[in-house]
Amino acid sequence: MDLSAINPVLLIASLMVAATPLLLAAIGELVVEKSGVLNLGVEGMMITGAIAGFAVAVESGSPLLGFVAAAIAGAALSVLFAILTQFAQANQVASGLSLTLFGLGLSALLGQSYVGVKPPQMGDIHIPVLSDLPVVGPILFGHDIILYFGIVLTAAVWWVLKYSRLGLVLRAVGENHDAAHALGYKVLKIRLMAIMFGGACAGLGGAYISLIRVPQWTEGMTAGIGWIALALVVFASWKPWRALLGAYLFGGVTVVQLNLQAAGVAIPVEYLAMSPYLITIIVLVILSADKSSAPASLGRNFHASR
């Protein structure tokens, strides 16, 4: 085996790419759960976003248009979930699981004619001087625009939740929906908005896989990232920056194990392939000793009776 073939600068640059789909999905789900809703359909919304974004990018030739379509598709699917759980009062766990199954099936159907097609490339940004710096250049200034969007989104969600009135109301709804209703806040409307935001983020994350990370279309290509995103939100104790940390850890281990595989390390491939999931969860479980920040109304349906 030859570990010297692994370039640390490229490694860090590519771990950021590997982490971005997870980060986008997790930030979206974090907002959803802060509003008191548990949407287990992240995987389904991601894969739907992946094929919707891929198809639109191929047909229009614009990857950016693809991302917009992916966000819309993810949000549209999440509206289905919102109708079931918020208005028809269906069980959130069952609805979320069926949303995932539905998304996987729907994407396989839509994607049939796109197998083997190459999508248009999304260019990396290039800032003169900065992007050409050694080490720092490729890590900080040589990525695509969506990757930066993910980081900005994390910061924005953190700020909104912590400092803005909107964030306060959102947290209040997730904490005690009966009290929020008694004070005159529209619990269902706020939750619907949060669910749609989560759907759009998951769709973006999915499209990032099919348009940038891989980039091609294969059935079931999200490969459980949606489930990791769900775990990440819990283990990050519903804190955006911790979710970013967890996502980068996951991305890092993913990239390292791929490099190790390529270098021919004498560990069975199956063990290497499972390692990102395992290590991320173990580390986050240790980090998340403080469980008190869970939204108290999480997963409970609200009905304005009397």
């Binding site: 209040a172 005159g184 008190s292």
Partner: protein, 505 residues
């Protein structure tokens, strides 16, 4: 005649199967403290929800200073100067005091300015509060201060208070009344909802009495006796439970040096609890909600296991035994939360009778359930305790709160316990049914059972208990003989005023 602040004219609101308010009319004058009296389920809460814009009336109208007043939502009501302190606090445990208050305001100032104003207003009215404390860590009395200050910051014309004193110690009640009187002297009207008659007699200028959704009378509380008001509320003559004199036997249950950590982030830890109950004795345990009542019941019933020696039954250690093993030995319990703790909401009354009665009533043989015998048992409970339900096949959820409470208490009483632990036995039960539940506890004690009655209703505890102790922040005061205890002494046992002071101005 001057125009009243708020005039209600023929308000009616019906829910499927029940008319909550049937053409209710009354006026609240400027600067008046108006009492709204009635039993649980008389429609008081529905009525104030209509005033606060949470519920729309089916018919009738409201006039605010002579102008039509139809709040579409609480926001609109607040904008018109209506503020409300809720019976079940509308607070958010995980948020701090300032955030909670900001949520109840239309245009809250910056958090730092708001915190300063909270300090200022809370000092003025003698309700000190730290704006940056997490609400989940506050006592019930402090939580109520948060609600009151939230209202005061909006400079209300009408302050609605829904059973504000049910969670306060007597000293805290005194201070609250001084705050309310100060508000009244500043011209604020108060709509005060309660079923505690003595309070209304000291505080209120005028009272409207509701029964089954109808306005059944008005009176001037200072000139009407509590008994007359009670009979207007109930609509019949009240029976007071009778207690015969009893001889106490040996110690039935003995708890010594019991400490239990808090079961959850916002639970209460029990700290070094000592108590003994003798056969034939009723031990009343008072205290404001959230001071360890649920935890103590859990320890006594066996839901929370402790050191074997910490809990003794007839001298034998039982601390390691679970609820079923303790039931077999004769320790029965009826917890406070009816739906979900004392009864399984979606199961029938027969099934619920099976759940706690299987051991002592022999309803289970070799792993098979004897449903015929269980149905008989359920019917016996229904008959003996006058539970109003079409039959034992109905789901527990379908019963009204008071009826389910009668079932839950009756289920334990009929199993002939040696030790019975009840938490809030008459909470949400109408006066007549409450009297019969209390009577059944007294009868049980007369037959030689030891009864531990945890309750927040001091009148109830004084009526039935032989000795009295109080829980405060997980500590139990030393039990004292109940006869002859004064309200002041009880209040001090409950922890006094928790740092509240009388209004400064």
């Amino acid at each position: 005649m001057t125009v009243p602040l708020l005039s209600l004219q023929g308000l009616t609101k019906a829910y499927p199967g029940v008319v909550a308010n049937d053409s209710v009319s009354f006026d609240i004058g400027e600067g008046e403290v108006h009492a709204l009296l009635g039993e649980n389920g008389a429609g008081k809460s529905t009525l104030v929800k209509m005033i606060y814009g949470l519920v729309k009336p089916d018919s009738g109208k409201m006039l605010l200073r002579g102008q039509p007043f139809e709040p579409a939502e609480p926001r609109a009501a607040r904008a018109d100067g209506i503020a409300m302190v809720f019976q079940h606090f509308s607070l958010f445990d995980a948020l701090n005091v300032a955030e909670n208050i900001a949520l109840g305001m239309e245009n809250p100032p910056e958090l730092r300015d708001l915190a300063a104003r909270i300090r200022e207003v809370s000092e003025t009215y003698g309700l000190p509060l730290d704006p940056f404390r997490t609400v989940g860590d506050l006592s019930a009395g402090e939580r109520q201060r948060v609600e009151i200050i939230r209202c005061l910051l909006q400079d209300p014309k009408l302050l609605i208070m829904d059973e504000p004193t049910s969670v306060l110690t007597p000293q805290e009640v005194d201070i609250l009344f001084k705050t309310l009187q100060k508000l009244q002297s500043e011209g604020t009207s108060i709509l005060y909802i309660s079923h505690k008659l003595e309070e209304i007699r000291t505080l209120c200028d005028h009272a409207t009495i509701l029964r089954l959704g109808k306005n059944v009378g008005e009176c001037t509380p200072a000139e009407t006796s509590a008994r007359d008001m009670a009979e207007m509320m109930v609509g019949s003559t009240l029976q007071t439970p009778e207690r015969g004199s009893r001889e106490f036997g040996g110690v039935a249950m003995d708890i010594s040096g019991l400490s239990v950590p808090a079961p959850s982030a916002f639970g209460t830890a029990l700290k070094n609890v000592h108590m003994t109950v003798r056969k034939g004795e009723i031990l009343g345990i008072g205290g404001v909600a959230g001071n360890g009542q649920d935890e103590l019941l859990g320890v006594l019933s066996g839901e929370v296991l402790t050191d074997a020696d910490a809990v003794k039954l007839h001298g034998q250690p039982v601390g390691r035994l679970g609820p079923t093993a303790r039931r077999r030995l004769g320790v029965l319990a009826a917890p406070e939360e009816r739906l979900g703790h004392a009864a399984a909401p979606d199961m029938s009354l027969t099934e619920n009778a099976m759940l706690t009665g299987s051991v002592r009533e022999g309803l289970e043989k070799n792993g098979f359930l004897d449903w015929a015998a269980t149905k008989d048992f359920a019917e016996r409970i229904i008959k003996a305790f006058d539970v109003r339900t079409p039959g034992p096949g109905n789901a527990a959820r379908s019963l009204s709160g008071g009826n389910l409470q009668k079932f839950v208490i009756g289920r334990e009483v009929l199993q002939d316990p040696d030790v019975l632990v009840v938490n809030q036995p008459t909470w949400g039960v109408d006066a007549a049914a409450a009297a019969s539940i209390r009577q059944s506890l007294l009868d049980l004690a007369a037959k030689g059972a030891a009864v531990i009655c945890i309750s927040q209703d001091l009148d109830e505890l004084m009526e039935i208990s032989d000795s009295f102790a109080a829980l405060n922040e997980g500590r139990l005061s030393a039990p004292r003989e109940a006869a002859g205890l004064t309200v002041d002494e009880i209040g001090l046992m409950m922890g006094g005023a928790h740092g509240m002071e009388v209004a400064h101005v």
